[in-house]
């Protein structure tokens, strides 16, 4: 059965069909929530909220967007709600000030060591977590979930231009964080792009 058929059955009231949709998407939705929320407990709550919201909204789902994009949208809404509830929302200030957004810790700068794959992933995960929430969510949808700009705009309810600039800025912030950590990139950062301030280059 295709996803579309499952959606239609679920809309007609089939719990079995809806459960199959949950199982089809739970991994991605949970992973997204984990990246945005940062804790397993919050991620589980947010992901469950997202699926319950999907079930509630089935009657109004018109299928203009793909079911998965709609789920991403519900999931990011659920994450925002949970973060807001916990009052852990990033300060708006950090959204506009790349220098303030990233703290570079000296202890990560162990020089000239080749990282294991796991360590590399951990370091990249850390860089991702250091991004302001608005940048992180957009970048996660792009890089981890391979959504197009248009799909991200739909999922996050953002203008296309905002999506583009957040992805661009988010990438630069991550790159600067990793360059400053000293052992991520094989070659030392070139002079011209040296991250002197942990932010956008002069």
């Amino acid at each position: 059965m295709t996803e579309q058929e499952l959606v239609q059955q679920a809309m007609r009231g089939s719990d079995a069909a809806f459960e199959r949709l949950v199982r089809l998407h739970e991994k991605k939705i949970y992973a997204l929530c984990l990246r945005i929320c940062g804790s397993a407990e919050d991620a589980q709550d947010a992901a469950q909220d997202a699926f319950v919201a999907a079930w509630r909204g089935l009657g109004s789902f018109r299928g203009e967007a793909a079911f998965s994009t709609w789920l991403y949208r519900l999931a990011s809404n659920a994450c925002v709600d949970i973060l807001r509830r916990k009052k852990r929302e990033a300060l708006p200030l950090s959204l506009v000030d790349p220098d303030a957004a990233i703290e570079i810790r000296d202890e990560t700068a162990a020089p000239e060591r080749i990282l294991e794959r796991k360590e590399t992933a951990a370091l990249v995960g850390k860089a991702l977590a250091a991004l302001p929430e608005g940048y992180r969510a957009v970048l996660v949808l792009r890089e981890l979930h391979q959504l197009s700009y248009t799909e991200i705009a739909e999922a996050m309810q953002l203008e296309l231009g905002t999506v583009k600039s957040r992805i661009s800025r988010g990438r630069l912030l991550m790159r600067n964080y990793l360059a400053a950590s000293g052992n991520f990139f094989a070659a030392p950062p070139s002079k011209a792009s040296k991250p002197t301030k942990g932010g956008v280059e002069e």
Binding site: M11, G13, D15, F18, E19, V22, R23, E26, K27, I29, Y30, A31, L34, R35, A40, Q44, A47, Q48, F51, V52, A53, A54, W55, R56, G57, L58, G59, S60, R62, W70, R73, L74, N77, D81, R85, T120, A121, V124, G125, A127, L139, R142, E143, L144, Q146, K164, I167, S168, R171, L172, R175, L178, A179, F185, A187, S190, A192, S193, E201, E202
Partner: protein
């Protein structure tokens, strides 16, 4: 960094995603062919992207995640069947446009609503945070007669807000005394408005609650608050409450 690098770096992210126009792409490639720094940066972007692509491959949701979702849904279905009978008894619907309002927090103390509403906590916290002048937040916080409820909902179309429909509440309040009703909340920012502790009745495609059950006897107070806030609203008759409810929650989906 010179001007050419600056321009190219603005476009580098879009280049990575193949999201540039043809002239932009050509300009970036032209610059990359001459600039080793920008090439190095692009290479670094690609290295990061490669790690990110697979970074969550091994993440799995907690055990019994789907069962947990389905449990919640079954619980909600049972609640909905109870609500349906309340809505069937609706005498009136108040259509309220909250898009014109500053953020509002309305608190009900119905025991049933409390135990029934899965997002109680969020709602009450929200009410605290977003409340109008303080007194309003607890306007409905006292003396609720659990046997009488109004359903309150959120309006969808801003045009209703603009139409500033006449207020009929006062003239029919006596008949409402023993009745139920529904209030519908509208507006693009409807997720910013929560009626705390009310029973959530129905939801739009974003999963945002647009209909709440409220005590009928509080309708007058609610409309007074809405008047004070400059909102437009109208009161409709029984069938419309049911039509509204059924249009969102009706049929087989309600199970």
């Amino acid at each position: 960094m010179n001007k050419a690098c600056e321009n190219s770096r603005l476009l580098l992210s879009g280049y990575l995603d193949s999201a540039l126009s043809e002239p932009e792409r050509e300009a970036v490639e032209q610059h990359l062919s001459q600039c080793s720094d920008c090439r190095a940066l692009l290479k670094q972007y690609r290295e990061i992207a490669a790690v990110l692509r697979t970074i969550d491959d091994e993440i799995e949701p907690p055990e019994h995640f789907a069962e947990g979702v389905m449990d919640k849904i079954r619980t909600e279905k049972r609640r909905r069947r109870r609500r349906l009978s309340a809505v069937a008894a609706c005498a009136a619907v108040a259509l309220v446009t909250l898009s014109l309002l500053p953020r509002i927090g309305i608190s009900l103390s119905a025991d049933d609503a409390k135990s029934d509403c899965s997002t109680d906590m969020a709602a009450s916290e929200y009410a605290e945070e977003k409340a109008l002048p303080k007194g309003n937040a607890s306007l409905f916080g006292t003396s609720f007669d659990g046997s009488q409820t109004i359903a309150a909902g959120a309006a969808k179309s801003p045009s209703v807000a603009e139409s500033s429909a006449p207020v009929e509440t006062a003239s029919v309040e006596a008949d409402y005394a023993r009745a139920h009703s529904v209030i519908k909340l509208y507006g693009a920012e409807r997720r910013d408005y929560l009626i705390a502790d009310a029973q959530e009745l129905c939801y739009d495609a974003d999963g945002v609650c647009i209909g709440y059950l409220l005590p009928m006897e509080k309708l007058e107070e609610l409309t007074a608050l809405l008047d004070q806030s400059g909102a437009a609203y109208e009161v409709l008759l029984a069938e419309d409450a049911q039509t509204f409810y059924l249009s969102y929650e009706g049929g087989e989906h309600d199970g």
